[in-house]
Symmetry: C2
């Protein structure tokens, strides 16, 4: 099944996607639900981020080639992690499928990172790795947009990874996924930059759920971004960046420059 | 004014604290509100965390003596940051005033860190430092409980700072605060371990709000934990730890050992 979250008259609603229609449901897929309301055309709907996570986990170093590429960019020796260790991102940076990625005025190198996103479906604590996938509602797609200058010079990842609009996520949650057969492809303006087996991770989805849940309770709607593979490239205003994961869908976002008026402020 | 969030018949409610009473209000202090319902005795109420933040910022290195102490603990040279840079914590670790801090079974050194917590009241983007405090609803208190072994050996702060119950926050939000005159005191079992001028920060509240808001929109209810000063000490099961900030209040939590049965799992 595919669950989309979409705007209906200014309010967020969940619905099932069937073909080119959205069939609205009551409540959310994280609780008992039923069909509720008239279906609408998918191409008429404005999709929202498929979940607003309370806790936003992200794995930084989970694919061998990406670790070597990042080490090269930072001028350091690559080191593969020996354990599953998550980091965090901030929900304030999330935007939906077809929303714009806004380049801040003082950026020099903003790059894509196409990622599988795990959406937790049920409360999980002290979960065995063998049981861990039962706590997953489904999967969506993330673009872990990153500013490489700040990633190099800042002490934390706050702005390099969490500037407004730097975390596109969507288009929807797919519940029926065979992790082993997934392939991730990233395209910029239609040209493919990278293709890799999505599940070719150092530590997989089940391992991360089991590890996190030994110490931190996972809650319905929490997300775990599973990291990316290989090298990336700079994005520029006017680009269209697409992250496709087979059988899940394609997350597409346009890149735009920030308005010149960076000192436009909200009235006090 | 003091806004408390408390449990009323299983539902969270906000109220004003006046003397030893809570005067319930409609909605929340982040929107227009009015008095709503009969007042109740403060000592009969179970206080909840005063806000559930969507975005949870935390400043790691913001007091000179604490930076020297942490460097000593890690066996590295102390380095004062030259810029305001926030990190993140995860809301899953939050517990309220009078809730228990649970020591995981495999911990060796769990310590307190008493912190001022800024509660954002209004959406903020591109805010000038001179205007920044106008976006603050008020202040509460945090205990940035930290496991020092994991802080040393893990690649990220996920479990050393974000294990379940490691982020006590409360007891309430105080809106009338003179930052310059605040003093923070931390007591364990009634004995004071540290006292410091709360505002003796390398980078103050206004600077952090202005800096964050250049890149990341701050939202009502977001919190910024402002860091701690000096050295800490190990907590043990049976301890009572109190963080007092003058004119705001006292955050008090008991420390308990995790149940022996760490493999108790939620049924699948």
């Amino acid at each position: 099944m595919r669950f989309a979250r979409f705007d209906l008259g200014g309010h967020p609603r969940y619905g099932l996607i069937e073909g080119d229609r959205i069939l609205p449901i009551s409540g959310s897929p994280f609780e008992p639900w039923r069909r509720d309301g008239a279906d609408i055309a998918l191409d008429q709907a404005r999709l929202l981020i498929p979940v607003v996570p309370s806790n936003f986990y992200a794995v930084g170093m989970n694919y061998a080639s990406h670790i070597r590429e990042r080490a090269r960019g930072l001028g350091i020796a690559p080191e593969l992690p020996s354990r599953a260790e998550p980091g965090y991102r901030s929900p304030s940076a999330l935007v939906a499928h077809e929303d714009e990625i806004v380049l801040p005025p003082d950026t020099t190198s903003v790059q894509f990172e196409g990622e599988l996103v795990v959406v937790i479906g049920r409360r999980a604590k002290h979960v065995r790795e063998a049981d861990a996938l039962k706590y997953v509602l489904g999967y969506t797609i993330g673009n872990d947009v990153s500013e490489r200058k700040w990633q190099k010079i800042d002490r934390t990842f706050w702005r390099c990874k969490n500037s407004d609009t730097f975390k596109p996520m969507g288009p929807w949650i797919e519940t029926d996924v065979a992790l082993e057969s997934l392939r991730t492809r990233v395209r910029v303006n239609g040209a493919q930059h990278i293709e890799f087996p999505t599940n070719d991770m150092l530590f997989g989805v089940a391992r991360f759920i089991a590890t996190i849940s030994e110490y931190c309770t996972l809650h319905p709607g929490d997300v775990i971004w599973m990291g990316t593979e290989g090298a990336s490239c700079d994005l520029h205003a006017g680009d269209i960046v697409e992250v496709e994961i087979s059988t899940i869908g394609t997350l597409r976002n346009a890149v735009v420059a920030a308005s010149r008026n960076i000192h436009e402020r909200i009235p006090v």
